[in-house]
């Protein structure tokens, strides 16, 4: 086993383990904090895939922005610790069957499918400038359209949150 493999498994373990805490923990604060490790783990996986820009974005936006906001939200909410957030286990059997079938299908899809493998070029150092160029050339239209989508989203959020 090479060093990168070991690092991969560590990051994967961190990601999945903390994601399970997010789901299973009954305490909102624990959930929010362990979400941070999920995001960090995913960022680490991006680094291993040589997607440096994506990793930095993940850190800056999810960990630095969204998560901090979420934790603030949780902390400022009235009575943080003993809030009943989960609605308890309902319809356990049908849910287990559906999730089991879905998981089985996904595992089969993942392991049996012959995926399209792209040639990676080893001499690429840093993807940021490539992504930047692509955004203003080949992907200009989606880039601009996502600008409009985000503008709509911001105005929409402000609109929905206004006073009655």
């Amino acid at each position: 086993m090479e060093l990168t493999d070991i690092i991969f498994y560590i990051f994967a373990l961190v990601t999945i383990g903390s994601a399970m805490i997010v789901v299973f923990s009954r305490n909102l604060v624990y959930s929010a904090f362990s979400l941070m490790f999920t995001f960090l783990g995913v960022a680490g996986l991006y680094v291993l895939l040589l997607a440096d820009f994506l990793a930095v974005t993940q850190l800056m936006i999810y960990v630095g922005g969204i998560l901090v906001l979420m934790i603030f939200g949780v902390m400022l909410t009235h009575r943080v610790v003993n809030v009943e957030i989960s609605s308890g286990a309902m319809r356990v059997i049908p849910a287990t069957i559906v999730v089991g079938v879905f998981l089985g299908t996904l595992l089969l899809v993942l392991t049996r499918t012959k995926w399209m493998v792209m040639e990676g070029s080893p001499d690429v150092i840093g993807t940021t400038s490539m992504i930047g160029t692509a955004l203003v050339t080949d992907y200009l239209l989606p880039f601009e359209v996502s600008g409009v989508v985000l503008l709509v989203a911001i105005v929409a959020a402000a609109f929905m949150a206004r006073k009655r």
């Binding site: 089969l108 499918t113 995926w115 080949d138 989606p142 929409a156």
Partner: protein, 501 residues
């Protein structure tokens, strides 16, 4: 690169106009604090300009920004449908009391209406999975807010929330499908996707093929949600009932048109080998989706019609009826020929007129009587003969009886289905469904003409000449296009051309 951008932009005048209109309308409310409803005229001016500028796209069969967005006769046809219904819905909105009573934020209302229209324009042409997702998302985000526009009406808030939740699930499904397809083919634009599939990288019977089937079904989840096909229709009745009726009308026509456009483009381009001389599609080996779509079509029309039977609220009934109509139109896609697509397009023209007309009548009646209940339509023919007469025409047309537009639409769809060997059963199910639908449309008809209202409700309702003219704008074409439909047929047949690289 600069040349590509410049030549691409010169083909996008209507879209650019709508983008600018969106921003202008948004800001116009600061200038129009005293009369916020006037923002509607800013939007209306932009829509009319976009309508005129659509002429510049006529006849072009190209793709802009690489192969991000196709500008072809097919897309232009659907853009005309979208912008025409957009202009009509703007007209509704300016008359609507629901909007007037909440006029404080009318600027946002009209701005979101514009951004939604822009999104639908992009949907009509999107030929890259990324653009498909973004354009669907633009339409969805705008429509979530619009369906919750009436903040002090509980139903409207509920509608927005349900719409967001179901919308998020279906975009999640669609994104997952897209990622699977990207993993299989390494392509995001549907042309390269077809090229990879044509090399036989994904053979039927292999695991990769099973993955492809799963991915396509997931993507149908995204499209099906926009056209409210079963089983992705759950949001439809609640949203249609709770949203302001102007938005319900817009969702039921334009949003559905854009959904069909994007779905037809995906299925035709991505799996097509060649189009034979008579317009039949020869698909790549094993890529026959007809049966999947046929099953969805049957489920959609049957469920829509059966549940519509039990509705007492006319708006909700029309919601289920619109689900059923999506089912009929899907039959045209099952055929997988250019004729089938032309039939869908003809159907859409007819559906636009009759459905918008029906919603217009529901709106003006609700403004006078304060009710959308079918029972409160008793004796309407004697209280308001003009409006009830128009409604009767729309109902006959929605059922699909001659001599109305709806009959012509159904005729072409059924003719297309019958031309495909082995799918006679589908046509039979379609006809049975039309008969079922007669029952609930006739119920409204019976209430209007054959029953008397209560004593205190027997007074004539006085509608202004503007309202009567408004309902005639829809009623007259419903009859005229039922008798004289040649030009529409021609237009649809000339517009089935999709840009194929």
């Amino acid at each position: 690169m600069n040349e590509i951008i410049q030549s691409s932009l010169s083909l996008l005048w209507p879209e650019l106009t709508l983008t600018v209109t969106f921003i202008l309308t948004l800001f116009s409310q600061f200038a129009l604090r005293k009369a916020p409803m006037h923002s509607g005229y800013v939007a209306l001016a932009g829509f009319l300009l976009a309508f005129l500028l659509l002429g510049t796209q006529g006849g072009s069969d190209a793709s802009v920004f690489g192969v991000m967005l196709a500008v072809d006769p097919f897309a232009v046809f659907f853009k005309y449908l979208i912008i025409i219904s957009g202009i009509l819905v703007l007209g509704f909105s300016l008359q609507s009391e629901e909007i007037r009573n909440n006029a404080e934020h009318a600027g946002e209302y009209f701005a979101f209406l514009t951004s939604m229209t822009l999104g639908m324009f992009l949907m009509a042409g999107a030929s890259n999975l990324l653009m498909m997702y973004l354009s669907i998302e633009l339409v969805s985000l705008s429509s979530y807010v619009l369906s919750g526009y009436l903040r002090n009406v509980e139903r409207s808030n509920e509608a927005a929330l349900k719409y967001v939740i179901f919308g998020a699930v279906s975009s999640g499904l669609m994104l997952y499908g897209i990622s699977l397809i990207y993993g299989l083919t390494g392509a995001l634009d549907i042309y390269s996707m077809r090229d990879v599939l044509a090399t036989g990288a994904v053979m039927p019977g292999s695991w990769a093929f099973a993955t492809l089937v799963a991915a396509v079904i997931l993507i149908i989840g995204g499209f099906g949600y926009k056209i409210s096909a079963v089983p992705f229709h759950y949001w439809t009745p609640d949203v249609y009932e709770g949203a302001p009726i102007t938005i319900t009308a817009y969702l039921s026509v334009a949003s559905k048109a854009a959904g069909f456009a994007i779905m037809i483009r995906f299925f035709k381009v991505a799996f097509l080998n060649t189009v034979s001389a008579d317009g039949a599609w020869e698909v790549l080996a094993g890529m026959n989706w007809e049966l999947i779509i046929a099953v969805i079509s049957v489920l959609t029309m049957t469920l829509g019609n059966l549940v519509a039977l039990w509705q007492d609220n006319l708006k909700r009934m029309l919601a289920y009826s619109s689900i059923a109509h999506a089912g009929y139109m899907l039959m045209g896609l099952v055929v997988a020929t250019d004729n089938g697509i032309a039939a869908i397009m003809v159907y859409f023209v007819m559906y636009l007129i009759m459905n918008l007309g029906a919603f217009y009548v529901v709106m003006v009646v609700a403004q006078k009587t304060g009710s959308e209940d079918i029972d409160d339509y008793r004796g309407l023919a004697y209280r308001a003969p003009w409006v009830a007469g128009a409604m009767a025409i729309f109902l006959v047309s929605l059922t699909g009886l001659p001599p109305t537009a709806g009959f012509i639409g159904k005729l072409w769809i059924f003719a297309a289905v019958l031309s495909k060997p082995g799918f006679v059963w589908l046509a039979i199910i379609g006809v049975i469904n039309s008969v079922i639908s007669l029952y609930y449309y006739a119920r409204v008809f019976r209430n209007m003409y054959l029953r008397q209202g209560d004593e205190e409700k027997a007074q004539p309702i006085l509608f202004g000449s503007r309202t009567i003219a408004g309902s005639l704008i829809f009623a007259v074409p419903t009859i005229v296009f039922g008798l004289y439909f040649g030009p529409i047929l021609e237009w649809a047949k000339n517009s089935v051309t999709l840009f194929l690289r």
